[in-house]
């Protein structure tokens, strides 16, 4: 028992219970008492913050007590991803797009008009608006700047052939006004997606947010060279995704631990002493050089502990580019679930460059991948540290047999025959195949089939 009741003082009479505000006044009425409405405003607006904004707004009709509570919610979340993706992927009718857009804009405008809480934990806007309603969006930006927001996420991706939202000049100036500077300082997490913001403005945010720990930049086409630094930058997690025209990033981010980069190979400079986790998706669309996706990160590779590579079909190099040894790499995740073509350093090559590798995870899409993973210009060498392997989309025994021969201290393999688009028949076949493995394994070896 974690505690001990030392004394069991005289049982208290109803008189004491009456004084305590958490107890109903009359036990007899207990089942009929409206206890929820007696909760303090702070708790009720906390509860309403957990509901979708329209549902929170509807609570106003419950009773007088509830009329204005929704105006003090701590989060304003206008994430309309579902409708957004429907419009992006399927909708061709411009009238429908217009109607959905005006509905969305009207909703945000109404809520912002009445909302009264001076500071917010979270403000999130996510809809395919592009530049269609720039004036309204400028107003939203002003709203955000007038409040202290901790977590800000703005995703306004345009439909194809449309231009992204560009804040008006007044709006950009107001970002930098002294009164708004104090709001910017509240930010702990900032996500900017598919907006026309120039690098200078983004650098202004970064260098003026002493509490910023997370930053995500996606689809920002105006940034070319980016400097991620600040006098007391606390940034721990950074994601830069699909910024097509980005050419270089210079860091001075002493606290950065994780970095996710999806895009073409560019230059990275500066020191990241705490960087331990890299997540790279290589975009090789129009690239003629056979550049290994790891090469741009050469100066950080020896310190990385976790590496995730998302690649599009494996292909061996005729001549493998030199990368430094991944001295500290303990955890390697290879995601090759997408079925397009790109260049990739072979698995054996990576494993040989990572002498301390402990855990290896594969995400496969088809049997071709397990064959491709093994093809290599290097002769395999025994690996001593590798203990733990997990295979998602397991489909044949080749990979496992290879590992059993070369990873001499291997302890556990998890085979998951599940594949996103796989037929159930195929899955059953893969499962049987995994079961047959048992006969080939040394006794005491852990094989888990999911």
């Amino acid at each position: 028992m974690f505690f001990r009741i030392i004394t069991r003082r005289h049982r208290h009479s109803g008189k004491q219970a009456l004084r305590s505000s958490v107890y109903p006044k009359h036990q007899m009425d207990k089942h009929l008492e409206d206890r929820i409405s007696q909760l303090p405003d702070g708790i009720l607006s906390h509860i309403l913050s957990l509901l979708e904004i329209r549902e929170a707004g509807r609570s106003s009709a419950l009773s007088h007590r509830w009329r204005d509570l929704w105006k003090f919610t701590t989060n304003l979340n206008f994430d309309s991803s579902k409708t957004m993706w429907r419009l992006i992927v399927r909708e061709k009718d411009s009238k429908t797009v217009e109607r959905e857009r005006s509905k969305y804009v009207a909703l945000v405008n109404q809520v912002l008009k009445f909302h009264l809480r001076p500071s917010l934990d979270e403000f999130r806007v996510r809809f395919c608006l592009g530049s269609s309603t720039s004036c309204d969006i400028d107003e939203w930006m002003n709203f955000v700047m007038s409040k202290g927001v901790k977590k800000l996420e703005i995703d306004l991706r345009p439909l194809s052939f449309e231009t992204p939202y560009t804040p008006s000049q007044e709006c950009c100036l107001s970002f930098k006004s002294p009164s708004n500077l104090s709001s910017i300082k509240c930010l702990t997490s900032l996500s900017l997606m598919y907006l026309n913001l120039n690098g200078e403005l983004i650098e202004y945010f970064i260098s003026n947010c002493p509490n910023l720990e997370q930053l995500l930049l996606e689809g920002l086409e105006q940034i070319v060279n980016l400097n991620i630094s600040g006098p007391s930058l606390q940034l721990k997690h950074l994601e830069i995704l699909e910024c097509r025209f980005l050419e270089s990033v210079e860091f001075c981010a002493p606290k950065l631990v994780t970095f996710k980069y999806f895009g073409k190979p560019i230059r990275f400079m500066g020191s990241l002493p705490l960087l331990a986790e890299l997540d790279i998706m290589h975009d090789d669309d129009d690239d003629d050089d056979a550049i290994c996706p790891l090469v741009p990160f050469s100066s950080y590779l020896s310190q990385i502990e976790t590496l995730k590579l998302t690649m599009w079909l494996l292909e061996d190099y005729e001549e493998i580019p030199r990368i430094p040894e991944l001295t500290n790499l303990k955890n390697l995740i290879l995601d090759v679930t997408n079925l397009f073509c790109s260049r990739f350093p072979s698995f054996t090559y990576l494993v040989e460059a990572a002498p301390s590798l402990h855990k290896l995870t594969f995400k496969l899409f088809s049997p071709i991948h397990s064959t491709a993973i093994l093809s290599s210009t290097l002769a395999p060498r025994p690996h001593e540290c590798l203990k733990d392997v997990e295979i998602f989309g397991f489909c044949d025994q080749k990979l496992v047999m290879y590992l059993l021969q070369n990873a001499i201290n291997l302890e556990k393999i998890i085979c998951n025959p599940y594949r996103e688009r796989g037929e159930s028949e195929e899955k059953e076949k893969a499962r049987k195949c995994a079961c047959q493995l048992r006969e080939k394994l040394p006794s005491g070896f852990k094989l888990i089939i999911l």
């Binding site: 001990r4 004394t7 049982r11 305590s20 708790i43 957990l50 509901l51 009709a61 007088h64 009207a106």
Partner: protein, 161 residues
């Protein structure tokens, strides 16, 4: 100032509104920001700390939660998550309200969050009449007043009866 975490074996005594005393290890008590601030300021552990708004039954639950979270290492997040979801399962509304008030008063953020989430889940996707019935909320609007509120917040009621 940091003395509160130097000695894990130190204990302190909490007293519930109905007079029961609970002996609690300090590192467990530190899950509560209120207690942490009290310990940081001066409060010697010999004192009995009265919690006049929390009854023994609720306090026992709160301390159970704190104990689990204080003892689990951060690597066991999955285990904590399943503990959290089991913790409130089958709890009646009265007990849940006591718990949310206690978590709010003692400033235990994690517990406040899960209790608030549970209440929010109960409200979610239900028409007004049902919410009123579950929580015994009396509709004190006149029909005209209610219509006015609905009109003012029309954005929220669109497509909703």
């Amino acid at each position: 100032m940091a003395s509160s975490i130097e000695n894990n074996n130190e204990k302190l005594t909490l007293k519930s509104s109905d007079g029961e005393e609970f002996l609690v290890e300090k590192h467990v008590a530190l899950q509560s920001t209120l207690l942490q601030n009290m310990l940081d300021s001066d409060c010697s552990s010999a004192d009995v700390i009265p919690l006049p708004k929390i009854d023994a039954r609720t306090l026992a639950l709160v301390l159970g939660y704190c104990k689990k979270h204080a003892d689990a290492s951060s690597s066991k997040q999955g285990e904590l998550n399943s503990f959290d979801s089991e913790f409130l399962k089958d709890m009646d509304m009265g007990a849940l309200f006591n718990l949310v008030l206690a978590a709010n008063f003692m400033e235990i953020k994690g517990l406040l969050d899960i209790a608030a989430q549970k209440i929010a889940d109960t409200i979610k996707d239900k028409p007004h009449q049902e919410v009123r019935e579950i929580f015994h909320v009396e509709n004190d609007y006149t029909p005209e007043e209610e219509a006015a509120v609905r009109e003012e917040n029309r954005w929220a009621f669109e497509g909703f009866p």
